[in-house]
């Protein structure tokens, strides 16, 4: 009896697997058909190169009551977490994102990104980047740099802040001025993040 039950389960799962694979392969071939055809015509002896679509991880599907967050930076990844709310430092001001937010693309400025899940709040400092909000309550946040706020050393922030305000004052060329200004802006944001 039990043995039979497992075989039933197994056969069902394989059927589901095959079905999925068919679906995904259709999608991929539809996207690249033109390219593959052109390639076959010009280079019949060489296999066409892969495209990033072939390596895409499955995207999270929509969950109405929760927000799915992907926070990626060049050195780390924090993906497919389900949370209640995210506050991102957009260039237009702090922006809170709740499930069911409309689809939008926004640029980020240096500031604090906080991820709220129940009473649990996680804070990251992001230097810059982009946030994509998809209509199915999925948020992609790409940051050039994202560090948990606890890992920032307040003393060195203070030190660099005084150093670069000095530099900003003494800067002679426009380029130097702009560079120092960016530094100071980031450090001000860091400072307020630490104190706030």
């Amino acid at each position: 009896m039990i043995r039979r039950a497992t075989t039933g389960l197994l056969s069902r799962s394989t059927v589901i697997g095959v079905y999925h694979r068919q679906l995904s392969s259709i999608e991929v071939s539809a996207a690249d058909e033109l390219f593959m055809m052109a390639w076959k015509r010009i280079m019949p002896n060489l296999d066409p190169p892969k495209t990033p679509l072939a390596f895409m991880r499955p995207r999270p599907s929509s969950i109405a009551s929760k927000l799915t967050v992907n926070l990626v930076s060049p050195y780390s990844e924090f993906s497919n977490k389900e949370v209640d709310m995210v506050i991102v430092p957009a260039t237009t001001g702090q922006m809170g994102i709740l499930p069911g937010h409309m689809a939008s693309i926004s640029e980020l400025k240096p500031g604090v990104l906080s991820i709220h899940d129940g009473n649990d709040v996680k804070k990251y400092f992001v230097s810059s980047g982009f946030a994509f909000i998809h209509s199915n309550s999925v948020v992609d946040i790409m940051a050039a740099e994202a560090v948990p706020i606890e890992q920032v050393d307040p003393a060195s922030v203070q030190k660099q802040f005084t150093e670069f305000t000095q530099k900003l004052r003494s800067a002679s060329t426009d380029l130097e001025k702009a560079e120092a200004q960016i530094r100071v802006d980031v450090l001000v944001a860091l400072n307020s993040a630490l104190s706030g």
């Binding site: 996207a31 690249d32 058909e33 033109l34 390219f35 052109a38 390639w39 010009i42 280079m43 060489l46 296999d47 190169p49 892969k50 495209t51 990033p52 679509l53 072939a54 390596f55 895409m56 991880r57 995207r59 992907n70 990626v72 930076s73 060049p74 050195y75 780390s76 990844e77 993906s79 957009a90 260039t91 237009t92 922006m95 409309m102 689809a103 939008s104 693309i105 926004s106 640029e107 980047g129 982009f130 994509f132 998809h134 209509s135 992609d140 790409m142 050039a144 740099e145």
Partner: protein, 321 residues
């Protein structure tokens, strides 16, 4: 006696194997060895054995170095894989896009001895160049790495726009790659950037891959014309910045740097993997060669001993008789 020596010269002394890599190195010394000396010199085979053993040591060491570098770089490549996925999810992937100015960014290594990864990316780049050139279209190359540069300079020198090398002098980081991306964006006019690299799959397998990054104008055009993957972009509200095109420009430039970062890391990872397997097989080949040489050496030595014994015995029996 000398004529006897020459009579049954090399043929029986050298192993009767179909592949005989050492015959050529022995033959010039034959005359010299047989001129006045009775015994056969094994000096040459011994030298050869020594050099093969040294080569084996070097390839083994290179394999170890590649293995340790691979481990460090593999984790970094895996961590960077999440970076480009949101862009592809939003902007789709458009290798078939038909635009006027194509730029092919070929990523290769600076050093050799790493199997076929560089020639693969060059081949793919050439094919893409052919695919995207026509009467009203043009394609240019941007080359990263010494090896692809050497190969592409030969036949498409006029199409190379920019060459960047010595990428891996320091461990790869995002800042460095964004500087390179900035260089490319500033110096090259483009409608579509096609990045060619080898994606790391496992130590023995890597997949040639091309990623496409469109210029902001093309993104806007494609989004407005609707249809395809980019049609969905119109559903997104674009916030921040004065105009939509400004944000799109920032977005595509950021996309380029992210895709480049991942591509450079994946390629470096494939390079080390390919080097590791290439060095592994060459150490094995050196071992095989050494075995064959040892056999030859021992046979030769045995043959010379036998010859000497025959000489002594036949001499003694001649005296007796």
């Amino acid at each position: 006696m000398a004529s006897l020596g020459r009579g049954d010269s090399p043929a029986p002394l050298i192993s009767p194997q179909p592949i005989n890599p050492h015959r050529s190195s022995i033959s010039p010394a034959e005359d010299q060895a047989f001129l006045g000396v009775r015994s056969i010199s094994t000096q040459i085979v011994r030298n050869r054995m020594k050099s093969v053993r040294n080569i084996q040591k070097i390839t083994k060491a290179m394999k170890m170095v590649a293995a340790s570098k691979l481990r460090a770089i593999q984790t970094r490549a895996e961590n960077s894989r999440g970076l480009w996925q949101p862009f592809t999810a939003l902007l789709g992937d458009t290798p078939s896009v038909d635009v006027k100015k194509n730029v092919i960014v070929t990523i290769s290594s600076d050093k050799g001895l790493c199997g076929g990864i560089n020639s693969t990316s060059v081949k793919i780049s050439r094919a893409l160049h052919k695919l995207n050139s026509g009467p009203d279209k043009e394609s240019k190359y941007v080359v990263l790495g010494e090896k692809a540069k050497a190969q592409l300079l030969r036949d498409s020198k006029k199409d190379i726009e920019l060459c960047l090398t010595e990428l891996q002098k320091n461990p790869l980081n995002y800042t460095q790659v964004s500087v390179i991306a900035d260089d490319v964006l500033k110096n090259v006019e483009y409608d579509a950037l096609r990045i060619v690299f080898n994606k790391f799959q496992s130590v023995v397998s890597f997949l040639p891959t091309t990623a496409t990054v469109l210029s902001p104008e093309v993104v806007e055009r494609e989004a407005e014309s609707g249809g395809g993957k980019l049609g969905e972009l119109d559903n997104y509200e674009i916030e921040g910045g004065e105009t939509k095109s400004e944000v799109l420009q920032n977005l595509t430039e950021f996309q380029f740097s992210c895709v480049m970062f991942n591509a450079v890391l994946e390629n470096a990872c494939s390079e080390q993997g390919a080097r590791m397997s290439a060095m592994d097989s060459s150490s094995r080949n050196a071992g095989d060669m050494l075995d064959r040489l040892t056999l030859t050496y021992n046979r030769t030595r045995q043959a010379s001993i036998t010859t000497e014994l025959i000489e002594i015995i036949s001499g003694a029996s001649a005296l007796e008789g």
